[in-house]
């Protein structure tokens, strides 16, 4: 019996080994090819029906603009016949994103779209993907390393523009708290910086605190704002770098019974809830952008690169196509028309 078990163990191990070897020898040749051919990316003639496999790695399933971005991508896909797009959930963990990138390389996709969780952690893996001939396009949250293109809303300008607009609403030196993104995202989400820069330049605002949060849900926004309201009794402006925080802040103001104190709340990105809140006057406004166009732009950029076969590598070092999409200030004045034109899913609201 004992002997039998040992033999069985041996057989199983051998089986596994043989299978491994067989697998390796199967594509041994092709992997050698990709190594030597790394510098020139394959040209895929998608115009004439060549198949192209794409993958989209958002931060995680809870990323709010993910479905809208996806909608934009899918609309662009329809331009060509044989393009497939898979999506992967990284559960808001950079290590998972690295594993998923490797997964995409393994599966031999042609294009990877990614909302990076960390500005530098993915660099080596993205470089590996680029080397394997994959077009890597980062969306919104970028990576500092070499990759084909980056699609983003103008975060810095949005902050600057919002500050510009708000300066007309309040007196000089208005006491302001910035409810900012988590520290590790700051290099790419620079609206707080834009706002601050305007403030230091013109002196329109006095920044009391740049409050960095790790999660961006309404609840955390509520807590943060509540604490800020208690800490700084005389705060006049809450500049929030995303809409959930802004909505949470609005709730906090209401809960504190200070809705008549004229505290101004500004958001960023223009989610359905934020548009609704603007329409109802709960928050003053937001730096609106439609993620649909980000998706669309990302996809079109990808298609261009795929057809051209150029990438960061064969264009020389550090090539970096930076596609910036504009934002607009949405307030109660233009919110209804914005809602009518948006690709966000507003079906749950009555407009």
């Amino acid at each position: 019996m004992k002997k039998f078990r040992k033999i069985l163990a041996l057989v199983l191990v051998t089986l596994l080994a043989v299978a491994l070897m067989a697998g390796c020898s199967n594509d041994g040749g092709s992997s050698a090819d990709t190594k030597t051919a790394a510098k020139t990316k394959p040209v895929i003639d998608i115009n004439n029906g060549a198949a192209c496999k794409m993958a989209y790695i958002p931060m995680g399933a809870g990323q709010e603009d993910f479905p809208v971005i996806l909608k934009g991508m899918q609309e662009a896909i329809a331009l060509y016949p044989n393009i497939t797009l898979d999506t992967y959930d990284a559960g808001f963990n950079p290590s998972n994103q690295i594993n998923l990138l490797n997964e995409c390389i393994t599966q031999g996709v042609n294009v990877i779209f990614i909302n990076s969780m960390d500005a530098t952690a993915l660099n080596s893996t993205i470089a590996k993907a680029e080397e394997a001939g994959i077009v890597v396009i980062s969306i919104n949250n970028g990576c500092s390393g070499v990759h084909t293109a980056h699609i983003q809303n103008t975060t810095y300008d949005a902050g600057y523009k919002a500050a510009e607009y708000l300066s007309s609403k309040v007196g000089a030196g208005a006491k302001t708290v910035i409810l900012d993104v988590a520290a590790e995202l700051k290099p790419t989400c620079t609206m707080g910086q834009g706002f601050e820069d305007y403030a230091t330049k013109t002196g329109a605002f006095e920044i009391l605190e740049d409050y960095a949060q790790s999660i961006t849900s309404i609840e955390v926004g509520y807590q943060a704002a509540s604490e800020v309201l208690t800490k700084y009794k005389d705060v006049q402006v809450l500049y929030c770098v995303n809409d959930n925080t802004a909505i949470g802040a609005a709730q906090a103001v209401e809960a504190a019974g200070r809705q008549n104190d004229g505290i101004i709340i500004w958001g960023y990105s223009g989610t359905p809830a934020a548009l609704d809140a603007i329409a109802q006057g709960k928050i003053l406004g937001t730096s609106y952008s439609d993620p649909f166009y980000e998706g669309y732009a990302a996809m079109v950029t990808a298609m261009n690169y795929v057809q051209l076969g150029v990438s960061s590598h064969n264009m020389g070092n550090e090539f970096f196509a930076n596609v910036l999409l504009p934002t607009k200030n949405v307030t109660s004045e233009n919110v209804i028309e914005t809602i009518r034109g948006t690709h966000w899913d507003m079906s749950a609201y009555n407009y």
Binding site: P58, G60, A61, G62, Q63, E64, F66, P67, T87, D89, G91, F92, A183, E209, Y211, A212, Q213, S214, S217, I218, E219, Y222, Q223, A224, S226, E227, V228, L229, T230, K231, K233, N244, I247, G248, A252, A255, A256, G257, P272, A273, D276, A348, Y349, N350
Partner: protein, 338 residues
């Protein structure tokens, strides 16, 4: 056996801790002591405080549920998904709520059966189901969010009304849940038996308590409290997704352990749990008030857990007569067997 040392009393210890914190705040930032801030603290602990009440029962019987957050997310997604899909009426809400409750009960039964009948380590099981439920919630929403937009309906009003025009509903729900669980534990036969099962399962069987059914029951209550927490949270945020309440189980365990509950079962009470939740909320609030980087809050919480566990172990060991005074402590009996 009169104890002259007042710090041997658990509540004296807790009062001391609170006093120290309050003194720090008195020096650090006076605005901590406003009524608004008290409400802020209570609001911030309301959700996981509610969930604590269920988890307490689970922990008392020696179980642990790391899928609390995922259960809350999944059930709230189910409820809101049905609600939005069926005209956003109060009737749809009731059906959705029943669906959510059904799911919570199923999840609880799964956990309980795995732990009590199949004798699987509960923390691996609940870890696996937390992934599973996250996946299901995410699949139901196709990776997206779902909004609660009907501000007239009952669903919206759960969290957004105030009792007597002053006390927000989530706090009321938290206190009600604590009160109910407290009454169950102190006044009912069920409560007495929960403690008995936690203290010694085999002995409980032999005095006619079906300990395994009790444990399953406690897991079900635990999942139900997660469901309640998820629904209230959804109503509070007007939105839910698969990531709702993620990581809450850690806050819950922190609150319970700080409140004197033992992860091995048999120790703990609702007053302690409420105290634990409150302390966690106060500390989090303090970190903000004192301008400490919020990233450190987790680390501070960690230190507090270690201190709290050390206090509890000290109290329990002393009541078990394992700690001899002063010099004999080193030679005291080895660690009690897990």
């Amino acid at each position: 056996m009169k104890n002259k040392n007042i710090f041997a009393n658990v509540w004296a210890q807790r009062a001391l801790i609170l006093a120290v914190l309050l003194i720090i705040m008195l020096i650090g930032n006076r605005s901590f002591f406003s009524l608004g801030n008290l409400r802020t603290i209570l609001m911030s602990i309301a959700i996981y405080g509610t969930m604590c009440c269920g988890m307490l029962l689970c922990m008392l019987t020696g179980g642990i549920d790391l899928a609390m957050g995922s259960t809350a997310a999944f059930t709230s997604v189910v409820c809101l998904w049905y609600y939005n899909g069926h005209g956003m009426t109060d009737g749809a809400f009731v059906v959705g709520l029943l669906l959510a409750i059904g799911c919570a009960v199923l999840v609880g039964i799964l956990h309980g059966v795995c732990d009590a009948y199949l004798l699987l380590p509960s923390f691996v099981v609940t870890l696996a189901t937390s992934k599973l439920l996250y996946g299901l919630a995410s699949a139901l929403l196709k990776g997206s969010f779902i909004h609660l937009t009907n501000t007239e309906g009952f669903f919206y009003k759960i969290a957004n009304t105030k009792l007597f025009g002053a006390v927000p509903m989530p706090i009321v729900i938290f206190l009600a849940a604590a009160l109910i669980v407290g009454l169950i534990l102190s006044l009912t036969v069920f409560g007495r038996r929960v403690y008995a099962v936690g203290a010694n399962r085999a002995a409980a069987e032999l005095v006619g308590i079906k300990s395994r059914i009790f444990r399953v029951g406690c897991y079900v209550i635990c999942s139900l409290s997660a469901c309640l927490g998820g629904i209230v949270l959804t109503s509070m945020n007007y939105i839910t997704s698969a990531t709702t309440a993620q990581g809450y189980e850690m806050m819950i365990m922190l609150a319970l352990v700080v409140g004197g509950a033992d992860i091995m079962g048999g120790y703990g009470d609702i007053a302690g749990a409420v105290f634990g939740a409150l302390l966690a909320g106060i500390v989090e609030n303090m970190i903000v008030m004192l301008n400490i980087n919020t990233n450190y809050s987790k680390a501070v919480q960690g230190v507090i857990i270690v201190l709290a566990v050390a206090f509890n172990v000290y109290n329990n060991r002393k009541s078990a007569g394992l700690i001899a005074p002063r010099k004999k402590r080193a030679a005291a009996a080895p660690k009690k067997e897990a």
